[in-house]
Amino acid sequence: MEHTQSFRFFNRGPSPAVRLVFFILLSLLLLFVDARYQYLEFARSGISVMVYPLQRLVAVPGMLWHQADAYFVLQGNLVRDNAQLHEQHTVDAEQLQQLQVLQAENDHLRQLLAVQQRADYPTQLAEIVYTERDIFKRKLFLDKGTQANVQAGQVVMDDSGIVGQVTRVYPWLSEVTLVTDKDHPVPVQVLRNGLRAIVFGSGDTSELALRYMPVSSDIQEGDMLVTSGIDGTYPPGLPVAKVSRIERDPAYPFARILCIPVAGVDRQRQLLILSGLPKLPERPEAVAETATDKPRKGRRKKP
């Protein structure tokens, strides 16, 4: 084979440069179409069906490692963890009872005031198949897809707070963009005083930034930020981040506020997908122009 080829004086087909130009143009066309429109999602999910078994295969060594790791836990650790969890459970149970009373009271008051009810959202447990493989984007893949009725735009959380949002759904997988993804905005409220703000991802899994807050705004270190539920994407009242550092420099109009995500954005293995968010009425067009919590240019998909 090799020898017949090395005696080939005239290459058939176009020259490498022509091929390169052809494929570059093809790639650029695909890039343009994929970045601007949603036409290629069908092709993408088609190819992902072929790729999916391989991806699961690759995840096997990691899973085996986890299982082996879990198998060789010391008994002492188990006993200690168990005692700790029992203690936690007792404390939580007491708080839960108070919460139920408060919830009933809240429902009652809301009924009296004729405000829309806040619903409990059905959740779906999903496991992380694998994490960030592209250093530019911090994304997770969960093992539930269209087969399990997951839809793009659903919110993903763990036991302590919001982790991100489903941005793309494949037949057996769904892709989650983390709240810490660069420029990913989440509308929040300060739990202490109800101040509304928008928290942005910084591209680092351990940091979020609260932008466009005036120097004089009432925010303290240690303040809890919860979702405000204003845009209708995130349900209200879920913890997002805790303010960790505030720099107020009078030379700038806005304070520099850094937060730590509450959820274990890079720690968990099982996550919850929230479904059944209430539909909000459409926003009038003219107002949309000035809204600050509109997705920015960098966002791929409007949830």
């Binding site: 091929r19 494929f23 093809l26 790639s27 890039l31 994929d34 995840a59 694998y130 493989r133 592209d134």
Partner: protein, 172 residues
């Protein structure tokens, strides 16, 4: 010639299409391993390396077209935009098709010096597309090109060894 692998004298099995496909598949799987944190930044691009190997040693079998198709697979698995890896790999394949005559004259150390710019260019193309679309570049990403270049020699030795004929059973 002082090359550690005197390829002219060496008898290599003809590379079957199956072998090429399997090596590319293995490279894809290596890329898809759950790399995290620092390791993610240091992750070499195995697909790029294997494509380089085949483009240099079998430029008529693996060319820009196959590199592009591999890029599409990588795009789907990495959830990057369609064409982002494909564009980078097409440039990579073109670079080593341009280099392949020269590379066969050089030993592994000099080959590494030659392919590093090609890899760097590939990484730069990928990063440039990302920068155009999202407006920022993660500089740690370029570390991967250095690690990839360092892995070139071991990978070449490995693939050459796999293409050796088996030892003669009559000898024993």
């Amino acid at each position: 010639m002082s090359a550690p692998l005197p390829r002219d004298q060496e008898f290599l099995l003809p590379a079957s299409t199956l072998f090429i496909a399997l090596s590319l598949l293995a490279a894809l799987l290596l890329n898809w391993l759950p790399w995290r944190g620092v390791w993610l930044a240091l992750r070499p691009d195995f697909v790029a390396l294997v494509l380089l190997y085949w483009c240099i040693h079998k430029p008529y079998r693996v060319g820009i077209g196959s590199a592009w198709v591999m890029g599409i697979f990588a795009d789907v698995a990495d959830a990057s935009l369609f064409g982002q890896h494909a564009l980078a790999y097409a440039v990579l394949a073109f670079g080593c098709i341009m280099l392949h005559r020269r590379m066969q004259m050089l030993d592994l150390r000099l080959q590494t010096m030659q392919i590093f710019p090609v890899l760097l260019l590939t990484y730069a193309v990928y990063a440039a597309v990302h920068w155009q679309l999202h407006g920022y570049v993660a500089w740690g990403y370029f570390l991967g090109s250095v690690v990839s270049a360092l892995l070139w020699a071991p990978l070449t030795v490995l693939l050459q060894a796999l293409r050796h004929p088996r030892s003669d059973p009559d000898k024993l």
